[in-house]
Symmetry: C2
Subunit: 350 residues, 2 copies
DNA sequence: TTGTAAGCGTTATCAG
DNA sequence: CTGATAACGCTTACAA
């Protein structure tokens, strides 16, 4: 229990165990605390001592143990593990990849590590959260996830509360910080564009809406159209943001219709649905986009810009959103939810 | 330093700190070690005691601290953190999402947690690896990543070696376990299909090839074609697996050519490239697939099955590969690299 | 079946 | 600027 040289000096460098700060201290001829200080930017340490330590550390291949560091600093109020859990539940939507790119980049540059968790189904969200807690994450980020509000209760039980952040989705739930695009403003922007372009029979294609933390896009569009045109558009929804499901739904619901019974534009809750809708129009219904039926998406996934689709869609400011996420993590005091404004990217499908 | 009741009994339940096993022990009227036993499946503990503990734990919201657990069991030979680092470097390829789905699912079901790391560029691989070591991961998984062999040296320095696994890519490097499809067998399968279908002027579209850990597909195809047809096909490569880059490359290299100077099939190193190639053929060159130019991909991404592409491609057995990955992680003794056989999915583009 | 002692590798805090 | 003490929350070993 002392800091003396252990009885077997080479024990800690034996195979199967990591080099410790004590090993480095011994090699550098200083104390363990000096080793520690050498590894912190703010430390009060002489340049000579630091260099000696760093040299010894490099020679031995010393890698600090963040588990021990976290444990030891746990009692400090401002203690942080610099680890966040990222919960994800839908891999069919290509936009998830774009989000992951932004998130992983921003978080890593901000010095945050990510525990990636696939919440296998909605019932799994609570267990996943609890599991992440075992690693003492500072925050849990739900990325465009379908979750029921009750999972919050599960979490609120514990002593310390990791921050709970919903990314790319709004939530009114108390204690949840939501970082998302302003769905209502975005949808109004889309609806105005649809109106301005002279479309008269829109069809709204929505995704799953099981829980309160869902997109407000469909409701906003319906309301806007009802108010400005006096009738509510035709609508349909799909159980998952999946292009092929969207394709078959559009195929089945539009085929065999007379031209005047067809919508003139399909407004989609996101690009995953929009791409499927375009495929259905072209390949199943043998019609043209946008001449026969126009299509609008949401997200601006990479394929939307490709030669095949040239999709008119709404782009979320993901870089800004990710930057704000890091701000939220960094903050000591409680932070606010924030909504962002994106922009309509007008291409050729509408 | 004793296990007595602390001087301030409520201290550990104060805001900002987690409930500890001691708190639970006190509430349940047992010792801390009984609490520990209650949480392990194999423990020798009376049903009554276990129930009492679990009840108290649930009441207090006790969540074990895996950092402390890992630290405490570090000296045991079979000690595991049950944490693996997953390094990823390319978010343009939609196949990454499919891989992530399989990997996150298999690992979570096997009880493994994932530290997701975006290696921002190739130079960042080594720092990323070292960073992951700080969390004492049991293994590092490189998922289809571009890495230089020298990064291995960086890692081999330390005392304990986390397993180094390359997923969906072969590597001959000593000490690296590679779990991948047999690129040579797969490519031969594709080449035979191309031959059988009567194509005579294939064009091979390859991705980046900077390091030794790359796909052997192009080389294998070239060799096969040279041997069976006496000449090597035209070829080109792109700096990233990016559909839009593929589209512009095909556009630029084929436009203006006379019909007889055009290839009759474009064989692509993966689907990301193939989808771009199809877009170029249809929208830039105004030709038909497969009548004018056929296309073959690799991976079978979700869009490949969609109505728009109906891409002929080669599917990797990702579920099997992920299952083997878990086996490798679980194993005590050193494990072998393994190659898997996939299957050609013949659709309509070739 | 249960309890005790010792220690994992680090950091907060204070003494020199 | 550097060193020492006492934790952090848990587990391994062993004793009762």
């Amino acid at each position: 229990m002392s800091n003396d040289v252990p009885t077997t000096p080479e024990a800690s460098t034996a195979y199967g165990s990591y080099v410790t700060a004590d090993d480095v201290a011994r090699a550098a001829g200083v104390s363990r605390w000096t080793v520690n200080r050498a590894f912190r930017k703010d430390a009060s340490i002489s340049a000579k001592a630091r260099e000696k330590v760093m040299q010894a550390a490099a020679d031995l291949g010393y890698i600090p143990d963040l588990r021990a560091a976290g444990l030891a600093s746990a009692r400090s109020v401002s203690a942080r593990s610099n680890l966040v859990a990222l919960l994800i539940d839908d891999f069919a939507n290509p936009h998830k990849l774009v989000m992951l790119e932004h998130l992983t980049r921003a978080l890593r540059q901000g010095g945050w590590d990510i525990l990636l968790v696939n919440t296998l189904d909605t019932d799994d969200t609570a267990p996943a959260l609890r599991h992440a807690s075992q690693r003492r994450v500072d925050a849990t980020i739900l990325i465009g996830i379908q979750f029921s509000d009750e999972i919050l209760d599960q979490v609120h039980q514990g002593g310390r509360q990791p921050k709970l952040i919903v990314f790319a989705r709004t939530s009114q739930v108390e204690g949840v910080i939501s970082i998302a695009v302003d769905d209502q403003a975005a949808t109004r922007c889309i609806a105005e564009y649809v109106t301005r372009k002279g479309f008269r029979r829109p069809f709204y294609l929505a995704g799953p809406r099981t829980f309160s933390a869902h997109l407000l896009r469909k409701e906003t569009f319906m309301e806007y159209w009802g108010q400005t045109h006096g009738h509510t558009p035709e609508t349909a929804w799909i159980g998952a943001y999946d292009s092929q499901k969207a394709e078959s739904l559009i195929r089945e619901s539009l085929r065999g219709r007379a031209a005047e019974a067809l919508p003139d534009v399909i407004v989609c809750e996101n690009d995953a649905l929009a791409l499927g809708a375009i495929d259905a129009i072209r390949h199943d219904l043998k019609l043209r986009v946008p001449e026969d039926i126009a299509v609008i998406g949401f997200d601006d996934v990479p394929q939307a810009a490709g030669a095949n689709y040239r999709l008119t869609t709404y782009r979320q400011p993901l870089a800004e959103m990710a930057a704000y996420l890091v701000e939220v993590l960094e903050a000591q005091e409680p932070m606010q939810s924030r909504m962002f404004l994106g922009e309509l990217v007008a291409r050729e499908t509408a």
